[in-house]
Symmetry: C2
Amino acid sequence: MPELLKLITPSAALDLILQSVLEIEVGTEKVATSKSLGRVARQSYHSKSTLPAFNKSSVDGFSVRAQDTFGASDSLPQYITVVGEVPMGKEPQLEISEGQSAIAYTGGMLAKNADSVIMVEYTNSVDTETIEVTKPVAKGENVVFAGEDIKPKDKIIVSGHTIRPQDIGALSALGINELQVSLRPKVAIISTGDELVPAESDPKLGQIRDLNSHTISALVNQAGGVPCQIGIFKDDYELQLSAAKQAIKDCDIIVFSAGSSVSNRDLTVKVFEALGEPGILAHGIAIKPGKPTILGLAKNKPLIGLPGNPVSALVVADLLLKPVIRSLMGDMNPSFRHEISALLTSDIPSRSGREDHVPVKLEQVKGVLSATPVFGKSNLIFTLVKSDGTVCVPTDIAGLYKGQTVTVRIY
Amino acid sequence: MPELLKLITPSAALDLILQSVLEIEVGTEKVATSKSLGRVARQSYHSKSTLPAFNKSSVDGFSVRAQDTFGASDSLPQYITVVGEVPMGKEPQLEISEGQSAIAYTGGMLAKNADSVIMVEYTNSVDTETIEVTKPVAKGENVVFAGEDIKPKDKIIVSGHTIRPQDIGALSALGINELQVSLRPKVAIISTGDELVPAESDPKLGQIRDLNSHTISALVNQAGGVPCQIGIFKDDYELQLSAAKQAIKDCDIIVFSAGSSVSNRDLTVKVFEALGEPGILAHGIAIKPGKPTILGLAKNKPLIGLPGNPVSALVVADLLLKPVIRSLMGDMNPSFRHEISALLTSDIPSRSGREDHVPVKLEQVKGVLSATPVFGKSNLIFTLVKSDGTVCVPTDIAGLYKGQTVTVRIY
């Protein structure tokens, strides 16, 4: 009997599903900028203000006219009169003239006529009204000029940008206190299998607890989506189809756990086909673990059929479901995955023709990060629990070698 | 005038504050395992069950006695009778004898007397009751044995472990549906400065909007803490002290933004000293940006005085505040920071004697990740907005060179 699935590569699968959902968008909502961490902006924002709004000192010291400090040195200091201070948060009332200065604080304004600030470290107090300056300053030194940070019409963030702490800072600084962001996509999770019982119940012999609902929910949360656990369904076509039809009305993405292979009890393909056009996009990916994966689309809703094996389900959801969630949110940024380099401590054999994702344990040994493969059957969830990430052995390579530097994808 | 701050290295500062808070713990609470993503377990969990609970098939096919398949090949198949199927989720009623098999599903049990499973791919259907087997199986092949994943008393997760999706899966599989986790530490954020106005108001000339409350809050959220924005306080010792005294009652960590340097309007040191023993632990770190940083401890509450400059505040909060939050949560795991390798596209000069954290922009160019320094005065928040992470130039190095591979810390 020939290979039952027509396999495509993991990267072809990712391209396929991302191309298919390219035009699909979830709605938007307005949120307070201060609550927008991790959300995706769905509007571009430009500055309407100048930042800083005024020339300000970047140090503690004295605002001066630079020319009055020229030639100053430790052995030949310049003597300068202190005529007062410019208080923080106030427009300067003080104006200085030749040989004069005013106390300046970091972030504060300069006295009128001053063009630079001498750091307090390069001054000595002579009496209450006089300082000696031991180093010259150049015009503009220790001053942040108005508009140096941002000018009106400058782009701040573009639509499709994921909000980070510094973006919240910049937007707050400009008084942009509300943002238009995408809604969190709702992901329906439908667990299938006659053998499944809820995690809260005690399985009889032959039964197992449904854990995929919970691992996939956690992963959806990580990606910024909202998991909707629809429930556990028997291997019954009508039951599964009616659950899927309801889910497609209520949610943005439909995920089936298990039933993704080709035996007569694998119903996911049949259910997906009945949901609408175009139906199945791909069935089978050249990856281990995760081969029996289904990608589909119906009524503008992406469909993902994950293998029931919990390790395969997690690996495939990480590779394919997460990017779909981000795409529906309108995330246009290149995503720099959480990947780090480490030294492999033992060989990893692999069969060419498929991409292998091998769990590894990371350890710092004398300042060097090492990755040790956690071997085990791919259906053992504890191989993932014992590991910190996975190393990918590409399709066209027969294995990786001890001592090689590898990229570990952290999860 | 000499250097006004006695500088310690960033790593010494981190060691100092982490040592100081080593014995400090926030309380614990019970949460549903399914809601525990990112929380830190404060109890170790061991298995009370065997997983899988029964020998199960890892493929779709036929459970057989291995000896009945010996010698099978494409040219000389073995003929085997199919006596029925073992349904999913059920104990087998079927028992096979010599030359017999039963239909087996992935995750299902084997028929009594069967010791292995032949994959459907290596069989052909002859008639409704007979298959030909074209490849032999070894005893135990395609079977996951009871206890192969986990046995009673096996360690699942230890106290101090941060919960990931796969941990939720493993705990759910074992019926452990509640976890004892640490509370999220409450972090009081007190913004100081006569020049500050809330982000929602319109600053007058000389004033600026308080953005640090919001960036630090976002960072606290990222680290798993609960930010408590106490408010904006004038440069007034009594006002700040009374706010800090209240905060120390209500919160687990006290963060001051601004006022961390040595001018007469820098009050943070004075306030921290008045809060209790041991008071100030360090003042001044050999880092750019972020030199005027204060670390303290009072009444078992860590105190962190951040520079007012928003870029310095973010860099220092990332380096020191985040680890303190994690430590209070009881996080015992090595934290593999979100760091990736990239090729530097231009030189970064640096002054030795301090650690420089230089913002860089990441770009994928023909499959190679490149890091381009975003130069700019260290007090410009938009240098951070334009960048994806920072490159650290260590204390004892005079700079980094174009073409060098560097580690970028993503934020």
